[in-house]
Every structure is written in structure tokens, then in C-alpha cells.
């Protein structure tokens, strides 16, 4: 029944995490930065599920329950993060993350 190599799952997870980090670090649009964080969260969830299938018996459920909590935390994070985007965009009328540099001086 199980025909998937666990190494391939972890490989996909690492690649997606790297891709999300590239999006966070390279894009300047503030929405794309938030979406890169979401991709990284998804990659870690996939890693949890992939490793949980290697545990025996009832322990294999524990790794499948943790992503449920991660998804709830991600919902709270998106809620507060988007409210902060609305808050800081109101004064500047831009979504370029390089324009929000007041704390530098």
C-alpha cells in the first residue's frame, strides 16, 4: 500500500522550504513576503507528516496532529499579519517593503 519513499517526501519538504525562503528574502512586495512564510509553514507540515508515518502504531498519530495546530496558528498569523499590512499601508500608500525603513535612523 505504501509506495512512497520517505526520503522523497523530505526532499520535497526541503525544496519547498528553500523556495519559500527565497520568496521571503528576494521579493519586495509585502504580500509576496507573507505568502513565502505560508509556503515555509506548509513545507514543515509536510515534513511532520512524512516523519510521522515512520513511527510505530499509535505514535504515528502524534505527528499528524501537530500540523492541525500549525494550521490554526497560521490562521492567527495571517489574520494579525494582514491587519498589520493594512495598518502600515494606510500611511504610506505603497506595498514596497523597502519604503518601511523608519526604524533605521
Amino acid at each position: 500500500m505504501h509506495s512512497i519513499d520517505p526520503f522523497h517526501v523530505q526532499l520535497l519538504s526541503a525544496l519547498l522550504f528553500g523556495l519559500g525562503l527565497v520568496v521571503v528574502l528576494t521579493r519586495r512586495n509585502i504580500f509576496l513576503v507573507l505568502m513565502g512564510v505560508e509556503v515555509m509553514l506548509n513545507a514543515v507540515n509536510l515534513s511532520f507528516v512524512g516523519f510521522s508515518q515512520q513511527l510505530p502504531g499509535a505514535q504515528s498519530l502524534w505527528g499528524q496532529l501537530t500540523p492541525l495546530f500549525t494550521i490554526a496558528i497560521a490562521a492567527a498569523e495571517a489574520c494579525v499579519g494582514l491587519a498589520m499590512v493594512i495598518c502600515i499601508t494606510r500611511g504610506k500608500d505603497t506595498v514596497d517593503s523597502d519604503q518601511f525603513a523608519e526604524m533605521k535612523e
Binding site: 500500500m1 505504501h2 509506495s3 512512497i4 520517505p6 526520503f7 522523497h8 517526501v9 526532499l11 520535497l12 526541503a14 519547498l16 522550504f17 528553500g18 523556495l19 519559500g20 525562503l21 520568496v23 528574502l25 528576494t26 521579493r27 519586495r28 512586495n29 504580500f31 509576496l32 505568502m35 513565502g36 505560508e38 509556503v39 506548509n42 507540515n45 512524512g50 510521522s52 508515518q53 515512520q54 513511527l55 510505530p56 499509535a58 504515528s60 498519530l61 499528524q64 496532529l65 492541525l68 494550521i71 490554526a72 496558528i73 490562521a75 492567527a76 498569523e77 495571517a78 489574520c79 494579525v80 494582514l82 491587519a83 499590512v85 493594512i86 494606510r90 500608500d93 505603497t94 506595498v95
Partner: protein, 193 residues
Amino acid sequence: MFHSLDHLLGSAYFTLFALASLLCGGGLLLSKHPINGAIYLIGVMLSLSGIYALLGSPFLGVIQVLVYAGAIMMLVVFVIMVLNQARDHRVPRFDGFSIVGAIFPIALAAMVVKTLAFADASTIDPAAVRGEIAPVAATMFDLTPAGPGYYLLFELIGVLLLVAVVAAVMLAKRHLDSPAAPAAPAEGDHAQH
């Protein structure tokens, strides 16, 4: 024979979903408008939910579609459309720092892959529990003292979501002392007279 066919189909579906998620991730990286990026991100989440179902966690796959691709991405798309006046086409996609910034994630992913490749070969346990609704609920709401105690986390997540809603309303309000509705102070004045 059917076993080998199942084997082949599982690998084919996994390859399909993995390629779809990576391609959608690349589209997110190169997208011009954030709305396009949001659509690509939904593609990443849908293909990952397919992989969860293939790996034996169908309930998690359903929650991924409902909460992530449904609720969270709806919020993201809604805010992008609300702030569409903020002329995001002036923002360049990449700048000089981007080339430097791309090196470190690639190095990190390469190190993780190298560590995994040199680790002991791991296999999926055939006795692993398939995460359908009944076993997930039985584990999460296991109230016995010897249980894992996930129900406490469940309650705490509820409090956290409530706090996040209050914080979002406080942050997104235009003025902190403004009334919720324009009619409210008139009624207050009327009551004082």
C-alpha cells in the same frame, strides 16, 4: 500484480503532486501581481493536500483544503483586493540584494538534503495509523491523565484565535477612539437628554 499496480500508481500520483507543488512555488516566486501569487499559492496547498492523503492522513488533507486553501487564502486575496489602490506595479520584482539573498536558502536546502541523503535509509512503518477522523479525534480528546493532553492545546488555540481576532480589529481600525458605528453616539446623546 495488483499490488505492483498500486505501487506504480502511488509513485505516479506522488510525482505528479510534487511536481505541481514545485511548479506552483516557482510561479509564486516569479509572479508579477500578488493576486497571481495567491493563485499559485493555492496550487501549492492543493497539491500538498493530495500528498497528505497519499501519505495516510486524509483528515489533514481535508483540513488543509478547508482552512488553508479556503479560509486563509480567501483572507489574503480579500486584503490584496482592498489595498489594490496601493499601486503595486511600481514595486520592482527583484533588486540587487535579491541575488545575494537567494544564495543562503539554496545553501540551506542543499545542506538539509545532504544530511538526509547520508542518514540511515528510513522506511514507512506498515503499522502506522491512517489518520482518519475517528483515530484523530480519539487521540486529540484523550482526557485520561496518561494521555498526550492535546485537549489543553486545543483550548489554548481557541483563546489564541480569539486574541488574534481582537488584535486584528484593533490594528485595522482607523482611529482607536472612533465609534463602531456612526449612529451609536447620537443614541448616547439622546439618552443623556
